[in-house]
Symmetry: C2
């Protein structure tokens, strides 16, 4: 092992091999799961990544790729020990205007990529809630979604080129600055969403789209969650695809009530924040008004200025911060169901909260059927969380949905993967894993079930429940 | 072999096992390549497909899945003999409005799927030129594109569920009626675009989007092809994403001149047909006018009625029919380059035509960088075609592009695949093929290079040049 560390130092320079306290901030993700590791290495480019992986392969050492560590599923936590390979130094960024793409090192923060595109009148649409912190490489690793996905699609819909370091250190270049290709197998899509278990993505090329010049935003309140969900379907079938349609349920509304518009009907089961974008201010506003009419809520506000727009968004945006600052602990889920099944999924979550006495608050990207039910709990309720999460997983799968819409499986959800995909698909996935990583050194103990799913699955994960204090400090530090 | 035919008859019924003359129409695609085969089977559903594949696997017989046979690359031609498995009886179709998806048997004609969606105010965007004839299963097999892809994306961007019969006859169900998923490997994307070489797609679920209520169309003429390409980039960077932007070059304009609007400037190197869609008639027209202003051509027409819209499209739409009806033969290519490289690609094609004396006419989905340079030739020029096609391939690859944007590789382009993807990616694709089809019974001799690429590659394909008479008859029969 000392031999390996020496070799890593000679590849990336001694300053970029971290151990002990200096390594600490590179090892946790947003779950704060426990870990054991050898060292953190911070290579400067794809060539160095390839040498690091080769060195790890030679010594049979696990290597865990890491972006900004904002994973909510333990994706980059080195559960099997080994080397954490941080891509935070791969931050070159090029907006290629003539080809309408951006090329970037895996360590570029997604917001920076979008801002750079914006400077040229272009946009990179996928905007996970972590967009200010998470990296484009991390977004590719878990096929991140976000608020604009209902209209614009997810990360996978924008990736046109990848540089991947394979498990034996070979460098594979896929795709390019091209928007369209039907030539050979879509290998690129095997790496997207594979959470660093099939190869390490070091460079990404994404399509850009024209930046809409105007936005218009409204908030619409509903007496029942079912009314809200039905209203969204009605709006879509009437020809209106919103740029965002975000749901807050009664529990979420309670948490953010200080940010709600003054005088907005307080007794609501659901609120939608709806946005439309486009190039003609007048038309965008008109289109939004039509959408609000179709949604037909019990109360609504249409923002008349960009200040009012920001205020309406505040209620939705503040939700994560309020959670982070709470003395209680929480476990944030990320299920999706076919959009027509959102009311039934919401009913089942509501029933589960009633049955267990747990507080479950839900926000979500309702136009995609993607809900984030979040279990808020005290230490005394801790034993209830794992069975509750399992119940939510089972309900989502039962309704034809998924246990992970945009976060990946990581460690926390892997035990339920087989339940979602079935043994045949899971068997093929295992064979693909063996094909690309025969020694199993790439991010071990992730994605694939270790044990059959049961209601204690979370408790098998060492230290899966984040310490609220730790989380608050990290959140305040903006990490 | 007689044993196999008997077994196939007992699976699908004797009426649905065709041989001799009755099999003929199920064996050619739009290339009219030569073939040898045993029988055509027409199973009724996924279960029968599974039994057919199992029977072929048991006897080591090749099995070639087939949609409507509109491939331009020999995709479904049974070059290695064996069984042609026609999916034309899998025509069930369901538009699931609450979940905003459509589910269909692989044999459903894509236009029928879109029309069914339209009846509910929804749309299935990918619209290959063959949309009236080709099937959704075939579209998935070659990841078909089309005219609306610049704004809406290609087939792969809409597929959310697949039923696939594997090489051993097992039935794999992937995805569902869900719009968003980040859970496990994207196996679905291995089958999309794999041209029936990894599994046989029998059922497809696709996302639908709201149908825009209005369209507006214009034609804009340019003195040079470079001006046209630059104009498209300028329009995109100014925030305007058109619903379609189709290019016709000077050669293509000559072929369709009878369909050009009366009085339109006749001396042009390029014409763009531009369309915008949306919900407010007035705004869609305004947006289109802005786009026409930005394009800044030497002549333009903005359609003032749906009749005029159709007339403007006629010029573009008629191109394929004019080709089909010509006494000359032709070879239609399908390259794409990064969109900023379109002018250079066009220059190279022009130079090639000059150097060889071949007539090369080009239309294309220019917003995607996707060009269809088509070599029109007499029997005396036949020997020039293969080297010319090879030169076009090399130029596209040299500019960071692809030899197939939306048609697939099939047999005709397979020899150049390695040149595009390189040995590492190609090696991984071969391993994936072996993993999914260890005996190599699924659509043999497709996708992968048989021999190193050279300038005689087309002539290695038996009868690759369609007989104009045969093609005309088929075209008139609407097959």
């Amino acid at each position: 092992m000392n031999g390996l560390v020496g070799r890593l130092r000679s590849i990336v320079g001694a300053d970029h091999v971290l151990a002990g306290e200096a390594a600490e901030e590179f090892t946790h993700d947003a779950t704060f799961m426990a870990h054991t590791l050898l060292v953190v290495v911070r290579p400067a480019d794809t060539g160095q990544v390839a040498h690091v992986v080769r060195a790890c392969a030679d010594s049979g050492t696990a290597v865990v790729a890491r972006g900004a560590g904002t994973s909510l599923v333990g994706g980059p936590v080195p559960l099997a020990g080994g080397v954490v390979l941080s891509l935070d130094r791969l931050t070159w960024l090029e907006v290629d205007v003539p080809n309408t793409v951006a090329a970037a090192g895996a360590g570029v923060i997604t917001r920076q990529l979008d801002d750079a595109a914006k400077a040229h009148g272009l946009m990179y649409p996928p905007d996970p809630a972590s967009v200010e912190m998470s990296t484009i490489g991390g977004n590719v690793a878990c096929n991140a979604g976000g608020l604009r996905c209902v209209k614009y699609g997810v990360t996978a819909d924008y990736v046109v080129g990848l540089t991947v370091v394979l498990a034996d250190g070979q460098v594979l270049r896929l795709g390019g600055r091209l928007r369209k290709r039907s030539s050979g197998y879509r290998l690129m899509h095997l790496f997207i969403g594979s959470e660093g278990t099939l190869g390490i993505v070091t460079e990404v090329i994404v399509k850009l789209v024209p930046l809409p010049r105007h936005r218009a935003t409204a908030m619409v309140g509903f007496g029942t969650l079912e009314d809200a969900a039905t209203a969204v379907s009605r709006m879509l079938a009437a020809g209106h695809l919103p740029a965002a349609v975000e749901l807050l349920d009664r529990g979420a509304l309670r948490l953010v009530r200080e940010k709600m518009p003054p005088g907005f009907e307080p007794d609501l089961d659901a609120v939608l924040v709806v946005e439309q974008d486009g190039n003609e201010e007048e038309f965008v506003q008109l289109e939004l008004m039509r959408m609000v009419e179709l949604l037909d809520g019990v109360d609504n506000r249409i923002a008349q200025s960009s200040l009012e727009r920001d205020r309406l968004w505040d209620a939705r945006r503040t939700f994560g911060k309020v959670l982070m600052g709470m003395p209680h602990n929480f476990f944030a889920e990320d299920v999706a169901v076919p959009i027509g099944c959102v009311p039934e999924m919401a009913r089942r979550i509501h029933r589960l909260a009633g049955d267990t006495g747990l507080q479950i608050v839900t926000v979500g990207h309702v136009g995609d059927g993607n809900l984030h039910p979040t279990v808020v709990f005290s230490e005394e309720q801790r034993h209830l969380v794992s069975p509750a999460a399992a119940a939510i997983f089972r309900d989502a799968i039962d309704l034809g949905g998924t246990i992970s819409a945009e976060h990946g499986l990581g460690a926390l959800k892997r035990d339920y993967a087989e339940f979602e995909h079935g043994p045949l698909a899971m068997g093929l996935m295992r064979q693909v894993k063996r094909l690309f990583d025969p020694s199993g050194i790439l991010n071990p103990q992730k994605v694939f079930p270790e044990e059959p799913a049961d209601d204690d699955f979370l408790n098998r994960m060492p230290g899966w429940i984040p310490d609220p204090e730790q989380r608050r400090r990290r959140s305040e530090a903006g990490v």
